[in-house]
């Protein structure tokens, strides 16, 4: 328990460093005021608006007041939405979670059987196909895959909706798009860790004792192969969110990824800050979760 509390406390300096980096980058990247005004706005109009919304303060004053507000849970008001940035981000999180969970489920459903299968049938045609497919799956950019899936399943076959969020059908194509790369990585990981474990002495012992091969694979080998798998799955959170930026844009999925892209394009600093901080917190928490699950799966590992 002490370990968890300590890890939770470690989040604070990490978030503070992230906030500084992001604030600095956004500050350097450009002035949002010119983007907020029409293309033919005069310099006088730009200056007047900058003054009105307090953007002509020096960097350290702006950053100082920002940190002071963030500590109180106030990320500031979004220029674009005219509303509290954190609430805008909260509104989007369920959509991204829905997509991410669906993508992970698809990835696991594909990776576990194919990973085990190709490990147990090493160098067979099935293994070759599975590892080949994993390479292709990892190499395909989400953007391209998404558009191809839309063209095939929606435009040509007409069996699935093109975009948007709503019914279960709307979830299928974006989840496959986002899940494919992760499935590929997971398949390769399960295959390699299964191969390593299948060559261990205790597996040979189990086999020699006459235990059924299915039982050997699933009870003795797979459970141990799960340890690196769980770690990688938890670490996929950042990959998932990175992939969600593209997938959500292609499928018009109203999640945090699309919000972040729009915010960067419009220099909506409050939203960018809030998004990055929330994403950072999620990634850190997922890593912590991975450590805890690690402990549950292998009691020999001590968290301290």
């Amino acid at each position: 328990m002490n370990y968890i509390v300590r890890r939770m406390l470690q989040i604070i300096p990490v978030l503070l460093i992230i906030s500084f980096i992001v604030f600095t980058l956004v500050f350097i990247a450009g002035d949002p005021v010119a983007l907020m005004l029409p293309d033919d706005a005069t310099l006088e109009e730009i200056e007047q608006l900058r003054e009105s919304i307090g953007l002509n303060e020096p960097f350290y004053v702006q950053y100082g007041s920002y940190v002071f507000r963030v500590v109180q849970g106030d990320f500031g008001e979004s220029f674009r939405y005219g509303q509290d940035a954190l609430s805008v981000v909260w509104e989007r999180l369920p959509a991204t979670f829905e997509l991410a969970i669906a993508a992970i489920i698809i990835a696991i459903m594909v990776a576990i059987p194919f990973g085990i299968w190709s490990a147990t049938k090493q160098n067979s045609s099935i293994d070759l196909i599975a590892t080949g497919a994993a390479v292709v799956g990892k190499a395909m950019p989400n953007f391209w895959l998404g558009i191809m899936l839309i063209l095939f399943f929606s435009v040509t076959l007409g069996v699935l909706p093109v975009s948007g969020r709503g019914s279960f059908a709307h979830l299928i194509l974006p989840a496959i798009t986002l899940g494919t790369g992760i499935a590929a990585e997971m398949t390769r990981l399960i295959r390699s860790s299964m191969l390593e474990i299948l060559n261990q002495d205790y597996i040979r012992t189990a086999k020699s004792k006459g235990i059924k091969s299915v039982q050997v694979i699933y009870k003795h080998a797979f459970r141990n192969a799960l340890i690196p798998f769980v770690t990688i799955t938890a670490l996929q959170t950042s990959t998932l969110i990175g992939g969600a930026l593209i997938t959500e844009t292609v499928f018009a999925w109203p999640g945090i990824g699309q919000l972040l892209i729009q915010a960067v394009n419009t220099r909506d600093m409050a939203i960018v800050q809030a998004c990055v901080m929330i994403i950072a917190a999620i990634v850190i928490l997922m890593n912590l979760l991975a450590d805890i699950i690690y402990r549950i799966l292998d009691p020999r590992i001590k968290l301290d």
Partner: protein
């Protein structure tokens, strides 16, 4: 084991089959991809970007206004066919003196919550736009001094200076009339979450970056819209996804169809491309700063003569665009018709002019250009560079991310030229030609023409409509002679539409639901 593999593959196919089967049913329930229902009274419009806000006074986003105009009204509105100003919420208006306009509101206008529209609502709305300096469109309303209430339906607008463009001003972004009582009682945040206006459609929901839903307002003062029960705006940023939605009838209309998909949309069974001319003009702004080659009028003229505007329109824009020599388009007050739908092209003369100006062997220049902001902007910049190369001018193009591009210009660090497309929501030459004022762009463009300056000042406050028109036409003639900047063409509006509905785009880029009908 082979049997097990076979069994696994069979189960995989069964699972896929079930999944597709399930989605097939779902598809019919949601109506997403089912056969087009001619009687469907829900109109779905795919937009490229989400609405900015329901704060109608605090944005300058055309596509946001294209939604707002169906929920809110202005006092007057511009007739897109005739270009004339017509009463909307106002029943009548009169110019009492140079600084005063008197308006009478229509009877029986109510907000979506049932409150009657009164002069107090107008006072609240216009004075907010005129006095709150943090509002993004404040610069276009600071000319209004105050709104004086005469009675419940009569009021006067007082301006600081004579403002001949007042009617244009109050028929555009930033001048919608809001419910003063509702906002005072509930607060502005409540209004933003539950907006009400006087327009033909009322608010149902806004799921950010996903959809905005409106429903027909029963008590609309011009009568309930009989054509559509519900309007759904869907936000689909990716072009190819938006086009796919249109092709599969997932949406009824899709905005900003890219030129690469025009043929596809037209040839697809069940969709067509509705095209119209927008009020946005693509231009190349030149530096007249001392020391730059473009300081010399002969050089500017040579560049203009080297560009074949029609070839750009035909080859890059598929014929959708109109070459022009002026930024003031048809439909704008003060439009010089003889400078529109025409262009100057004479590369031989261009070479002579360059030689006269001392650039016999040409020169090198730099053009800053955004990429993807305007229709085929990058391709156009490249084609212009090719045309200039034919007269010996080497134009280097620096494609820039939009915010960096703006910063560069605002800091006056731009080099010889920049490409920019400018709209004109005021539909008035004053707005378009203000770009030629010397003091607006000192250190950035430095173009100065004293006669133009004098005429701009005189026309800005001239309440004699005829004389003012003549002044603006003369300014455009002077600018064309002086080749202040290079005007390329007016852009087109390209909206994909399903066959079941009739739609013609309007120059103001608004999508008036009342003008969309089922066939």
């Amino acid at each position: 084991m082979k049997r097990k593999q076979l069994w696994f593959i069979c189960m995989l196919f069964v699972a896929i089959g079930l999944l597709v089967g399930c989605t097939g049913e779902n598809k019919d329930e949601t109506g997403e991809t089912e056969e087009v229902n001619e009687d469907n009274r829900t109109l779905t419009i795919a937009l490229g970007t989400d609405m900015v806000s329901f704060d109608v006074h605090n944005h300058n986003n055309t596509s946001t206004e294209a939604i707002h105009i169906n929920m809110f009204n202005y006092l007057v509105k511009r007739n897109n066919d005739t270009g004339e100003m017509e009463p909307d919420l106002a029943e009548s208006y009169e110019n009492i003196d140079d600084l005063t306009w008197e308006f009478k509101l229509k009877d029986g206008v109510t907000f979506h919550n049932g409150d009657a529209l009164t002069s107090a609502d107008v006072k609240y709305s216009l004075e907010r736009a005129a006095t709150d300096t943090t509002l993004l469109d404040h610069a276009n309303y600071r000319q209004i001094k105050e709104v004086e209430i005469i009675d419940d339906t009569t009021f006067r607008i007082h301006t600081h200076e004579p403002d001949p463009a007042l009617l244009n001003r109050i028929s555009r972004i930033g001048s919608s009339i809001l419910p003063a009582n509702y906002i005072e009682e509930n607060g502005f945040d409540h209004f933003l979450a539950n907006p009400i206006g006087t327009g033909p459609f009322e608010f149902v929901e806004w799921v950010r970056d996903d959809r905005i839903v409106l429903t027909a307002f029963e008590d609309y003062f011009n009568g309930k819209n009989e054509e559509w029960d519900e309007i759904v705006y869907r936000i689909i940023p990716e072009n190819s996804t938006r086009v796919s939605e249109l092709l599969t009838a997932g949406v009824d209309m899709a905005v900003n169809i890219p030129p690469s998909d025009w043929v596809r949309v037209n040839e697809n069974e069940g969709t067509y491309l509705a095209q119209g001319i927008s009020n946005r003009t693509l231009m190349i702004f030149l530096r007249s700063t001392e020391g730059y080659p473009t300081e010399d009028k002969r050089v500017r003229e040579a560049l203009d003569l080297a560009i074949d505007n029609q070839a750009i329109v035909d080859n890059i824009l598929g014929g959708a665009g109109t070459p022009s020599i002026t930024r003031v388009g048809p439909g704008d007050v003060g439009h010089a018709a003889n400078l529109y739908d025409t262009y100057n092209y004479d590369p031989e003369r261009a070479k002579e002019l360059l030689a006269e100006a001392g650039f016999k062997d040409g020169f090198e220049m730099t053009l800053h250009s955004p990429r993807g902001r305007y229709l085929q902007d990058a391709e156009i910049a490249e084609m212009v560079a090719g045309m200039l190369a034919a007269i010996g001018v080497t134009m280097h193009i620096e494609f820039m991310e939009w915010s960096n591009y703006l910063e560069l210009r605002n800091a006056g660090e731009n080099k010889d030229a920049y490409l920019l497309g400018l709209g004109n929501s005021m539909f008035d030459a004053a707005n378009a030609l203000d770009y030629y004022r010397y003091d607006r762009f000192i250190g950035q463009l430095d173009y100065q023409n004293d006669e133009v300056e004098e005429l701009l000042v005189a026309a800005e406050q001239n309440m004699d409509v005829e004389e003012r028109n003549e002044q603006y036409i003369k300014i455009q003639k002077l600018l064309a002679e002086d080749v202040a900047h290079l005007v390329l063409h007016q852009e087109s509006i390209n909206i994909g539409v399903v066959d079941r509905i009739d739609y013609t785009p309007t120059m103001d880029e608004m999508i008036y639901i009342e003008s969309i009908t089922r066939k």
